[in-house]
């Protein structure tokens, strides 16, 4: 039986009917066409599907859409401003923190959540916070550089 949920997605109020078993990832990708969050592992370990729910990073592949009722959801599509990219997006490009790009939205959103929580994290804090995101192309060193460059500035 479908349930109606109301929540904000990238600043826009939305109200939709969903089956209770539909995941947040399925909802944003298939109904809202917000495909920046990717399905990688489907079991909450790779981080490619990361979105922010009330500012906290969650693996959208393993969260039910109905649990986002009343929440504020941010996907990568909602991160940049009208005329400018988010400083993390700029830094990821400048330091070469991506290759294939499949993990990128997850890394950027997780890093944003970290910097919102701890504006000037230590290197170890960054490593710990992002340990749940995989980059198979192996851009870890560049990702660290990009985040370190932005810390204390957002």
């Amino acid at each position: 039986m479908k349930k109606t949920i109301s929540f904000r997605v990238n600043g826009i109020e939305r109200s939709v009917e969903v089956e209770p078993r539909v995941t947040l990832l399925e909802l944003v990708r298939e109904q809202f066409n917000l495909t920046g969050a990717k399905l990688g592992c489907d079991i909450q370990v790779c981080g490619a599907c990361t979105v922010l729910v009330d500012g906290k990073p969650v693996s959208a592949c393993s969260v039910l859409a109905v649990d986002a009722d009343g929440c504020d959801v941010l996907t990568i599509e909602g991160l940049s401003g009208k005329n400018s990219l988010h400083p993390l997006q700029e830094a990821f490009m400048e330091f070469g923190a991506l290759q294939c790009g499949y993990c990128t939205s997850g890394f950027i959103l997780t890093a944003k959540a970290l910097l919102d929580e701890v504006p000037d994290p230590t290197e170890q804090q960054i490593r710990d916070y992002l340990a749940g995101n995989f980059c198979r192309c192996g851009c870890y060193q560049e990702i660290m550089q990009a985040i370190k460059n932005v810390r204390g500035k957002t």
């Binding site: 920046g36 990219l85 790009g101 192996g138």
Partner: protein, 779 residues
């Protein structure tokens, strides 16, 4: 706008769309009327299919089409057998299933739930057969046969023509290499070393799983959106399977979410097209993570290596057998085995060789290309044993490599002359980066005490490894470059952007030739209806081959511009110069767009040029050429090992790669450190685990990938530049180089730290602990 250049870092052309989430990967795409497809897979490693009943499944509401062997063997329009080397694969299983996960049937339905429900209702009756699960078991007389007979295509790859399955056995191919006089070589040696090294199957684990959308128009025109690294090979295979000319097959490739070799050759494209054909609607299949593990793996290997050396460390003779587990289908395993065989001597001069390299069928998921392509396997043995030799002879591991390593002009094992091999520069650069000191390596007690952490069980060690690898030869890359009326440029190239930065490198090359800024250059997406032929985006070949093709095309555009100036302005050719995207004449300076307007009589028109690169087994200098260019690299690791528990920590890893010429230096560093990190995973934890033919860790919890927490504090990617005489601006391929030395470098560092030799990958704490225990019992 800054003019494009070489040797300078430019922001990659694919970045803005990727950091904003706008980039469309295959699973993000939909086409109108699209069905969802799912694949029913074998639960057994080896079984005969007695009966398949789809009657219940067909009744599930929403099911549009189901395909089984009945649809492919009785259809005149379908050739069910295919495969890159041998035609041993079928769209779905025909007589037998040969590995757990082998496709048996597939369903297209209006939604994924209906498709999954239908899969559950397909009834398959199997007659179990004894599976062969290990290469030695598979080679025993009387072993159960994975294939009763293997179909060999009439025309295949030129470099594999001599390799055929051995009838009545599970030997898929046997590559032999003989050089010098092996008996004499061993007789003249002062010491002989014999060791066996092993490494497990691993998986590419690109975060983007294989996916495909297929659509078949009435009239037979096939359109496929594919996650493939070689669309033109997939086009050929689909053309053969569905019996239509290649002009009727269109392959479109969006950005890939990683490839690493796991997306070369047909994967799920044949089954998706077959579904679309029967459903008469477009079908999308997106594999689950588990299914990817059943689709392709990296070859596990057993390598026995016997080496004869002189007292001074000069290598004299090597006998080597390499057994590569290619799984249930040959895939590209025959070439992997050949490349392993070619590199069993490593990057060293060894006058006497006897190499036997086998690809062997077993009842496991197929193994194919994986970044490093057979050389990761051989180098694990070559470079581990090099340190065993060095330790026994008390020679510094750096010195023994410099003593035996290839120099410019040396002969490779195939007797061809090597050019542009900056091997020793790489070895020295990697060693220097981790602070390699001669006296420490010779066991100086004072140095050893200071580097180990006094009062703890922690022991530190350093290790080196190096490698040489070939690129696929012969091969073809064609490119088209168009100069538009506003002097912007469009590049048509079949190179697939899968993260390696090819779009940007190609744009830099064309932009440098024509003096155009990157902002005015568009590299078009890959679509076989639009871009000219390219063999493959693999084998570290694209910058060299496609880069050269684009360069030639850009030069042809300049020639056309020049001709126009001669004709329209009456200026002699020798007075026409190109600089900064303009044409300089004695009296004046012309923009390209002005010349275009003059040529076409109004603002408009297009200048079109193509560039063609083909390499052959004989190069343009008349020399034998197994590889269009050679790539060499070295790695150096510093580790800390707990001598009580075996726990290992990587402190630093340096990777030095001869890149020829760095087109985009940041792009090179990304490829180098990225490949090294994949190598770290393979060296330290990655391993596909089987239990009686069942793959028991096909997920990213039980199959561990390296994450930020596993990274050493420093990875140092070093680009060594030994220009290649044929590469664009001297550039060579770099995609695979850095991965190959990692595992032996770490194993050598572990030996240096605690004196135990790990010969079986991955190098886990448990293995080090057990080896330390064994050593303690001995003393």
């Amino acid at each position: 706008m800054e003019t494009a250049d070489i040797g300078k870092t430019f922001r990659r052309l694919d970045y803005e769309t990727k950091v904003t989430g706008a980039a469309q990967y295959l699973a993000d795409m939909q086409v109108p009327g699209m069905c969802r497809g799912k694949i029913l897979r074998s639960p057994l490693a080896h079984a005969r299919i007695k009966h398949i009943d789809i009657s219940k499944a067909a009744k599930v509401p929403g099911v549009v089409a189901i395909i089984t062997r009945d649809d492919i063997v009785h259809d005149e329009g379908i050739e069910p057998y295919y495969g890159p080397v041998f035609h041993d694969q079928t769209i779905v299983a025909v007589d037998k299933v040969r590995h757990v996960g082998d496709p048996v049937a597939a369903v297209a339905a209006l939604d994924i739930d209906a498709a999954e429900e239908a899969l559950r209702l397909i009834e398959v009756e199997y007659e179990e057969l004894p599976p062969v699960l290990d290469v030695h078991e598979a080679m025993k007389p009387g072993a159960s046969l994975v294939h009763d007979a293997v179909r060999i295509p009439e025309s295949g790859f030129a470099d594999l023509a001599e390799l055929k399955p051995i009838e009545g056995t599970n030997v898929c191919t046997h590559f032999k290499l003989l050089r010098g006089d092996i008996e004499k070589g061993f007789a003249e040696s002062d010491h002989c070393f014999e060791d066996t090294f092993t490494l497990p199957a691993t998986q590419h684990c690109f975060l983007e799983t294989h996916a495909c959308i297929a659509s078949v128009e009435p009239g037979g025109r096939i359109t496929v959106w594919a996650t493939t690294q070689n669309p033109f090979v997939v086009r050929t295979q689909l053309s053969n399977i569905f019996k239509v000319p290649v002009s009727k097959v269109r392959i479109i490739v969006p950005y890939l979410g990683g490839g690493y070799g796991g997306k070369v050759y047909p994967k799920i494209e044949p089954i998706t097209v077959a579904l679309a054909l029967k459903a008469k609607r477009p079908v999308r299949v997106v594999l689950s993570r588990e299914e990817v593990f059943y689709t392709i793996t990296k070859h596990a290997a057993v390598i026995r290596m016997k080496t004869g050396v002189k007292k001074d460390g000069t290598l004299l003779a090597r006998e080597c057998e390499i057994y590569l587990d290619t799984g249930a289908y040959a895939e590209i395993g025959p070439r992997v085995a050949k490349k392993s065989g070619y590199t069993a001597a490593g990057p060293y001069r060894i006058p006497n060789l006897k190499i036997d390299s086998y690809s062997i069928y077993t009842n496991k998921p197929p193994a194919g290309a994986f970044r490093g392509f057979g050389v990761s396997q051989s180098a694990w043995a070559v470079e581990s044993q090099m340190d065993i030799v060095a330790a026994a002879l008390k020679i510094d591991p750096l010195e023994i490599r410099l003593k035996n390593g290839y120099d410019e002009g040396d002969k490779f094992v195939t007797e061809e002359t090597l050019h542009s091999v900056g091997l020793k520069e790489c070895v020295n650069a990697a060693a220097e980066s981790i602070g390699w000191e001669q006296k420490d390596r010779q066991g100086d007690q004072e140095t050893r005490r200071t580097r180990d952490l006094e009062g703890t069980n922690l022991r530190r060690g350093k290790g080196l490894a190096c490698m040489i690898k070939a690129t696929i030869t012969p091969s073809i890359s064609c490119a088209v470059v168009k100069l538009n009326e506003d002097a912007s440029l469009s590049i048509y190239a079949g190179t697939v952007e899968m993260g390696q930065g090819s779009e940007t490198a190609l744009a830099q090359i064309a932009g440098k030739e024509l003096g155009i800024p990157l902002q005015k250059i568009q590299v078009l997406g890959v679509d076989t209806d639009v871009v000219p032929y390219d063999l493959t985006t693999s084998s570290s070949r694209s910058t060299f081959h496609m880069g050269k093709a684009v360069q030639l095309a850009a030069q042809d555009i300049m020639r056309q511009l020049k001709q126009t100036v001669v004709k329209e302005y009456g200026i002699p050719e020798d007075q026409i110069d190109f600089a900064d995207g303009k044409i300089r004449l004695p009296e004046t300076v012309l923009d390209y767009s002005e010349v275009m307007t003059k040529r076409f009589g109004m603002r408009g028109g297009t200048l079109v040029a193509d560039g063609q690169v083909k390499t052959s087994v004989k190069n343009e200098y008349g020399e034998k050429s197994t590889s269009a260019f050679w790539f060499v690299a070295a790695g150096a690791a510093e580790v800390e090992v707990d001598s009580e528990t075996g726990k290992i920590k990587l402190l630093k890893y340096a990777t030095a790669v001869d890149v020829g010429k760095a087109i985009n230096p940041l792009g090179c560093r990304q490829q180098l450190s990225g490949a090294a990190i994949t190598g770290i995973g393979q060296a330290m934890f990655e391993e596909i685990a089987y239990d009686n033919g069942q793959l028991i860790n096909p997920n990213l919890v039980d199959y561990v990938l390296p994450s930020l927490g596993d990274m050493p504090p420093v990875i140092d990617p070093i680009s060594v530049e030994t220009p290649d005489r044929n590469g664009p601006f001297g550039a060579k391929g770099i995609g695979e180089s850095a991965l190959i030395p990692v595992a032996p470098a770490i194993a050598n560092a572990v030996f240096d730290a605690v004196g135990v030799r790990i010969k079986d990958l991955p190098i886990k704490a448990e293995k080090i602990y057990l080896a330390l225990e064994a050593a303690r019992v001995k003393t």
